[in-house]
């Protein structure tokens, strides 16, 4: 107890001492050696001390950078011999600055999240300060962005062993700056291309987190980007950083480079989920993704489900010619689809794909039949969606209404079995048009009244307008149950009128269970 107290006391006094020495250092050059003390104390094991050290260093170097004390004249470096004391001092300072950066970089990969964050912020602050007050005097036309320092930071962030996703999330505020974004993308591309870096799953995860943050801002064609963390380049200087097109280009190449790697399943899904929203709009030529998407689409299961969205955008907006799109889509309708996590997204997309009224009737009929078969095994929520989906299809395509109503009963078909063949891969050959939607009739006996009521609609002429099923897409079973129970109980809630004999043994099929112990 006493020891602990002593320790905390000592650390407290330490903190005070560090603060004091930082202040003294800034006030007078006499105390220059304090800087060395602080740097050594940065290696301390106590987080509190380290945090304070980082803060003090932040203050010190920010001031030094602002006052340009570390700035060496170009000439000075040449004449080594007669270096002034001033020059010596700034050289010394620069060396300490490099030390500090090294140590802070080390801290980024520390275990303590607050320490990580603080050191990252400090380093980025250094980047900003350096950008505003470059260490070396250069021409105004050049960009003053401290590329070397920045690459070092990114190198740490895109660690191969450590999941940095939370820290990268913190990084988001800096990505707003155009130059930061540009250099991030550039570094990413470089690292992805670099074969010496081992592309571990963690690394790819980090890269994905970083890429996810990237957003190329919307500006007019001839307008230059001007949100910079470093000094703004003069108007005459046209570098790659300032044009949107260049940024898009590098964005595209970084993404393509990234997608060439072998991704884990979860990462794959994440990529596919954001692809159409966060990536495609910023790419120069989204069609370049076609290969990736086609491959994913062919994988099957949830992956192809997710790839569907991106593929659709390519087909729809970028004129991609995709043969047998609908037959592939048709084969994706499997009983498992209603159990899938991405059910809502899938049905939403399928609805979009089948919006066109110019699709052939046989295709629609095949889809309707297949969906109705799925509904036979689906849980109530899924059945509701499917029924609504089928009704919408039939409203859109009046030719398909024979599925619900056939006037002259044709005798030539053998109706002991359903003419529709679910195992036929080609919707054209499935003979769906010769069938009827008996499955909907069956669902009229569904145990849930919502589904049953919905199925009962098939007995009457269809409505003229489609109804939106966006609401039921997201409905979970819990919501359904809550909806049922939240209804106000009326006065006379029906109860059984037969006195029970037993709780468990009352079940009719008594021979199935042996209740004796």
């Amino acid at each position: 107890m006493g020891k602990k107290f002593q320790k905390s006391f000592s650390s407290k006094s330490n903190i005070e001492a560090i603060k004091q020495s930082g202040k003294e250092f800034l006030s007078d050059r006499k105390h220059s050696n304090h800087l060395v003390d602080i740097l050594t104390k940065l290696e301390s094991e106590e987080t509190d001390v380290q945090l304070v050290c980082v803060r003090v260093l932040h203050k010190i170097f920010n001031q030094l950078l602002a006052s340009q004390q570390m700035c060496l004249q170009q000439a000075d470096t040449d004449k080594d011999k007669d270096v002034t004391s001033e020059g010596k001092y700034s050289k010394w300072l620069k060396e300490r600055y490099a030390d500090a950066i090294q140590q802070l970089l080390g801290l980024i990969s520390s275990e303590q999240s607050n320490l990580q964050e603080l050191s990252l912020c400090t380093l980025m602050k250094f980047v900003a300060s350096e950008g505003q007050n470059p260490l070396t005097h250069t021409q105004a036309t050049h960009l003053t962005f401290p590329v070397v320092l920045f690459e070092m930071i990114l190198g740490k962030l895109l660690s191969q062993q450590q999941n940095m996703s939370s820290l990268i999330g913190r990084f988001q505020e800096y990505v707003e700056y155009d130059d930061v974004r540009y250099f991030v993308l550039k570094t990413l591309r470089k690292q992805l291309k670099d074969s010496s870096i081992k592309k571990t799953d963690i690394f790819l995860g980090n890269v994905f987190c970083m890429l996810e943050l990237m957003k190329v801002p919307e500006v007019k064609e001839d307008q230059l980007l001007d949100n910079f963390i470093s000094l703004k380049p003069g108007p005459e200087c046209v570098t790659k950083v300032t044009t949107r097109k260049e940024q898009q280009k590098i964005f595209t190449s970084a993404w393509l480079e990234f997608l060439q790697n072998k991704l884990t399943m979860s990462l794959y899904k994440k990529v596919l989920i954001i692809l159409h929203e966060k990536v495609m709009p910023y790419m120069t030529t989204p069609v370049l993704l076609a290969d990736f998407l086609t491959q994913s689409y062919n994988i099957g299961g949830a992956i192809s489900l997710l790839a569907l969205n991106g593929l659709f955008i390519l087909v729809n907006k970028y004129n991609l010619d995709y043969p047998e799109f609908y037959s592939k889509l048709y084969s994706m309708f499997e009983p498992g689809v209603v159990h899938a996590k991405y059910r809502a997204r899938f049905f939403h997309l399928a609805d979009i794909f089948l919006t066109s009224t110019h699709l052939p009737a046989y295709l629609i009929a095949a889809f309707a039949k297949r969906l109705s078969r799925i509904a036979l095994t689906a849980p109530p929520c899924g059945s509701s969606i499917i029924l609504q989906f089928i009704y919408n299809l039939l409203i859109r395509h009046p030719n398909c209404r024979v599925l619900l109503h056939r006037d002259n009963q044709q005798e030539e078909f053998d109706l002991t079995t359903d003419p529709y063949n679910i195992n036929e891969q080609d919707p054209a050959k499935s003979r769906a048009m010769d069938s009827s939607l008996w499955e909907i009739k069956t669902l009229q006996q569904h145990y849930n009244h919502n589904v049953a009521n919905q199925a009962k609609r098939c007995d009457y002429p269809l409505a003229h307008t489609e109804s939106d099923f966006g609401e039921i897409l997201e409905t979970t079973i819990l919501q359904l149950i809550e909806k049922e129970t939240s209804k106000k109980i009326k006065e006379g809630i029906p109860t059984n009128f037969e006195e029970p004999k037993s709780l468990v043994m009352d079940i009719a099929s008594g021979q199935l269970w042996d209740f004796s112990s």
Binding site: P335, G336, H339, L376, T377, P379, S383, L404, H405, R406, D407, Q409, L415, T416, T417, D418, W438, E439, I440, K441, T442, L443, Q445, H446, Y447, N448, H449, A452, C458, D459, P461, I477, L478, I481, E484, T485, K487, I489, K490, E491, G492, I493, P494, T495, E499, P500, K501, S502, L503, V504, M505, I507, S509, Q511, L512, W513, D514, F515, S516, S517
Partner: protein, 868 residues
């Protein structure tokens, strides 16, 4: 108008005057003046409306006349500030003669002078003096005064004593006030005073009445006496009736005597059974309607007689009825088996009498008071239970006597007393406080055997019967929710006490009859709790659920016991079914326990739809998955199973039997206790012998369930599509390792499916719409024609429409009137102008004439001159 009539009547005779009114109305119309609006269709029997016929000329002239009287007068008086009022008497009436006028004037003069003489200060005016609105002259009749006012007034006043005591804080009699009324407030004292004076008034009234009565009696006595004195004997008007003799009385009595009384016929056994059947039929019909989703508009809760419901109900199911609570004078005395019958008998008597009172004196005399009497709404009547043998002896149980003595007979010798106490301490207490919380209840039943627990629960219910005290309803409600909780608790015990559970179920059932609203809410809350536990588990495990523990299963089962599961939509059963569906659809089967509990859930679920035969996709999927588990992995196809089952992976051959097990000929049913609360199934599965048995039982159970499903879903249109995957799985089952009975079952199922698959079907057709009839031009006949326009809107709407219409009409009328006024005025003005012009013209003419004649004269004179 009235005046005119009079004037015209003046000339007629008196008889004419009497009939005058009629004569006027029979004024002759000039047929040329009458104008008819032309009718489009002439409808027979339709009255001519006012608007259809009129006298335009007459009404025009009438209007003109009215304008001349009003508007013209105003017009003439425009710009005039003063008014000349003629107040001369009789000058305005031209009919009066001069003599009459003079008479009037004289009268007026006299009146004036008289008024002047009777100034308000003159006392000797001829006015009559009155008292209470009656003339004094009339009052002075000297009739015998009934009472003296002066005396009354005196009495009505507050006595001097009271004044002295009460007025001014009673300072006159300070002392008395201090000692007597020191505690009383002012208000109380005032009330006292008022009461006193009221009482005095009442006393007076009574006395007065008495006096009047005495006076009257005296009067009548005097009359009689006077008659005696006068010797004038009046003949009594009343003729005394001859007294009827006994014989006549007897005859009359016999004549009107009722020979036989009509009484309520005793119902025969058959009739009672029939009635019961009818009642059940009605309930069943209601249930069917609800199953189809057609709501019954019953309004209030159906009343069921307490007798009806529990007739023949074997409540305790045997002789485990330790006792019933008995009361004397509101206090609980004793209970026992035998009492029970007495109670029942007593209650039956009560019911017959229609006596719904809380307690009966006779019962109390017998030392017993019925605990639960017929309440209006509650159907519980435990006392009826076991009342099958009505000839229960009057013999008193020794236990009962003891308990009775301990309460009633106070003086007991200490030895005996000790004995009683010892016995009593072994017995359960008879009065229980209704527990407020579950913990309290657990303390109550702590250590009690299950038999005693049932007794305790029973006694709690008895002691707090609704009819006994005010707050008992609430207490019982709390108690019912506690019982629910206890049921869940019992389910989690390592060893299931099914008897206790069953009797608690029955208690919950009858409490549910009593408080359907409350228990409904509680039950749905319990259900929601279970659902939330399930979903939160599923969320934590990536959407995969887990098969519920036994308490949830019991609650689900209890719902089926309490509520009709066949309803198309029900507040509690619908969510319960959704919940079961979710469990079956989301919980992966990992071991034999999962298989067994899933199968039990299926059994429960199938029981839910046993009457309504509704289709449950989840259940079929589950059974399909179970069958797939029984098929060896080599024969497995990818599309055999649906989530949550997996086609490949660990545990997918959980139920596969590879060894020849035909040695055993019979497969036992699954053991409920071992599954839910027995030893760990994973251990069992290690022991091959037992494991195989369980596997086979599971397969057997699912086959059985499938048979049930096939029967239920036979009529479904997609029967073939539903059962095709199962059919293919059945064929791949390793039947050769199964015992004979299972083999047979399997092949039978395959056969049934085979035959049912070929059922022919028909194309779907929509419900035919009724053809729209063509429009005909035949007249439409109204069955009940009342010649009134029917308005579609509500009363308010119609009223506002009517007002709007009226306003419009009035506005039009007003505008028309104004326009006519203007026309009238302009006509008058034109006439004035024409008159003026004419006058001027005449004047000019006259002047011209005069001038011309002058000129003529002058010329003539001139000519004369010239000629001269």
């Amino acid at each position: 108008m009235g005046k005119n009539k009079k004037k015209k009547n003046a000339g007629h005779s008196l008889a004419d005057a009497v009939r005058g009114v009629k004569k006027i109305t029979q004024k002759k119309l000039n047929p040329f003046e009458v104008k008819f609006n032309k009718q489009k269709h002439n409808v027979l029997g339709k009255k001519m409306l006012k608007k259809d016929v009129g006298l335009p000329g007459v009404s025009k002239s009438k209007a003109n006349k009215k304008r001349q009287e009003t508007l013209l007068q105003e017009y003439k008086k425009r710009g005039k500030a003063n008014l000349f009022v003629d107040r001369r008497l009789g000058e305005t009436d031209p009919n009066l003669t001069i003599e009459d006028k003079m008479l009037q004037r004289y009268a007026a003069e006299k009146q004036k002078s008289h008024d002047r003489s009777t100034s308000r200060y003159s006392l000797n005016s001829g006015e009559e003096l009155t008292h209470y609105g009656q003339s004094l002259s009339q009052l002075e009749k000297f009739e015998a005064p009934r009472h003296s006012d002066s005396e009354d007034e005196d009495e009505g006043r507050i006595t001097g004593k009271m004044v002295a005591e009460e007025h001014f804080g009673g300072f006159l009699t300070q002392k008395e006030f201090m000692d007597r009324d020191s505690e009383k407030t002012w208000k109380e004292r005032m009330e006292e005073t008022i009461a006193k004076s009221k009482k005095a008034k009442y006393d007076r009234q009574v006395e007065k009445d008495k006096t009047i009565e005495v006076t009257d009696k005296l009067d009548s006595d005097w009359q009689e006496l006077r008659m005696l004195i006068g010797g004038i004997k009046k003949q009594s008007k009343e003729v005394e009736k001859p007294k009827s003799d006994d014989y006549d009385v007897m005859v009359r009595e016999l004549q009107f005597e009722i020979t036989g009384k009509a009484s309520d016929r005793m119902k025969t056994e058959e009739e009672i059974a029939k009635e019961e059947k009818e009642r059940l039929d009605k309930l069943e019909a209601d249930r069917r309607l609800r199953m189809k989703g057609i709501s019954i508009e019953t309004g209030a809760v159906q009343h069921r007689s307490a007798d009806d419901l529990d007739d023949g109900m074997d409540y305790e199911g045997g002789d485990n009825t330790p006792g019933y609570v008995v009361y004397k004078d509101g206090k609980l005395v004793n209970s026992d088996d035998e009492d029970d019958d007495d109670d029942a008998a007593a209650e039956e008597e009560d019911d017959k009498d229609g006596d719904e009172g809380e307690s009966d004196n006779e019962d109390a005399e017998a030392g017993e008071e019925d605990a639960s009497d017929g309440d209006e709404e509650d159907e519980d009547s435990y006392d009826d239970i076991d009342s099958d043998d009505p000839d229960s002896g009057d013999d008193v149980n020794p236990k009962e006597t003891l308990a009775k003595q301990s309460k009633i007979l106070k003086p007991l010798d200490p030895k005996k007393k000790q004995e009683v106490i010892e016995k009593a301490s072994k017995e359960l207490p008879y009065v229980f406080k209704a527990p407020d919380s579950f913990e309290e209840f657990m303390r109550l039943i702590e250590g009690a055997t299950s038999k005693d627990q049932v007794t305790i629960i029973e006694r709690i219910r008895k002691c707090h019967h609704v009819s006994l005290a005010e707050g008992n309803k609430e207490k019982l409600k709390t108690f019912s929710s506690i019982l629910l909780q206890y049921l869940g608790e019992l389910a989690m015990q390592p060893k299931l006490d099914l008897d206790l559970i069953d009797s608690i179920t029955r208690h919950i059932y009858s409490l549910n009859k009593q408080f359907p609203q409350f228990l409904g809410e509680t039950m749905s809350a319990v259900l929601i709790e279970c659902v939330e536990a399930f979903t939160s588990h599923a969320e934590r495990h990536g959407g995969r659920g887990v098969f519920p523990t036994l308490d949830t299963v019991f609650y689900l089962r209890l719902i089926a016991v309490l509520y009709p599961t066949s309803d198309f939509q029900h507040h509690i059963t619908t969510p319960a079914m959704l919940f079961m569906g979710t469990i079956l659809a989301k919980s992966p089967v990992k071991n034999l326990t999962d298989v067994a509990s899933g199968l039990y859930l299926c059994t429960v679920f199938l029981q839910y739809v046993s009457l309504s035969k509704r289709y449950i996709p989840e259940l079929i999927n589950f059974l399909r998955g179970i069958l797939a588990l029984g098929v060896s992995t080599k024969k497995r196809k990818a599309d055999d199973v649906l989530p949550p089952f997996r086609p490949v992976g660990p545990g997918t051959d959980l139920l596969n039997v590879t060894k020849d097990d035909t040695r055993k000929t019979e497969v036992g049913p699954l053991k409920f206790q071992t599954i839910f609360c027995g030893e760990d199934m994973s251990e069992i599965s290690k022991r091959p012998e037992q494991s195989i048995e369980i596997r086979l039982s599971a397969i057997n159970t699912s086959l059985h369930l499938l048979e049930d499903c096939v029967e239920k879903y036979n009529d479904l249109e997609s029967f073939r599509e539903i059962f095709t995957p199962i059919y293919s799985l059945l064929k791949r089952l390793p039947v050769k390792f199964y015992p004979a009975s299972m083999k047979e079952k399997c092949s039978k199922l395959v056969q049934t499916l085979d035959t049912r698959f070929t059922k022919p079907r028909q194309y779907l057709t929509m419900v035919k719409k009724k053809p729209q009839p063509l429009k005909t031009f035949e007249p439409k006949f109204d069955e009940r024609f009342d010649a009134r326009k029917k308005r579609a809107g509500t009363r308010e709407e119609n009223e506002s429409q009517r007002l709007i219409h009226k306003h419009k009409k009035e506005l039009k009328g007003a505008v028309r009137e104004i326009r006519k006024d203007a026309q009238f005025l302009s006509r008058v003005q034109l006439k004035e102008k024409l008159d003026r012009d004419q006058e001027r013209n005449e004047k000019v003419k006259a002047i011209h004439q005069m001038l011309a004649s002058q000129e003529g004269d002058f010329k003539a004179l001139k000519r004369k001159k010239n000629s001269l």
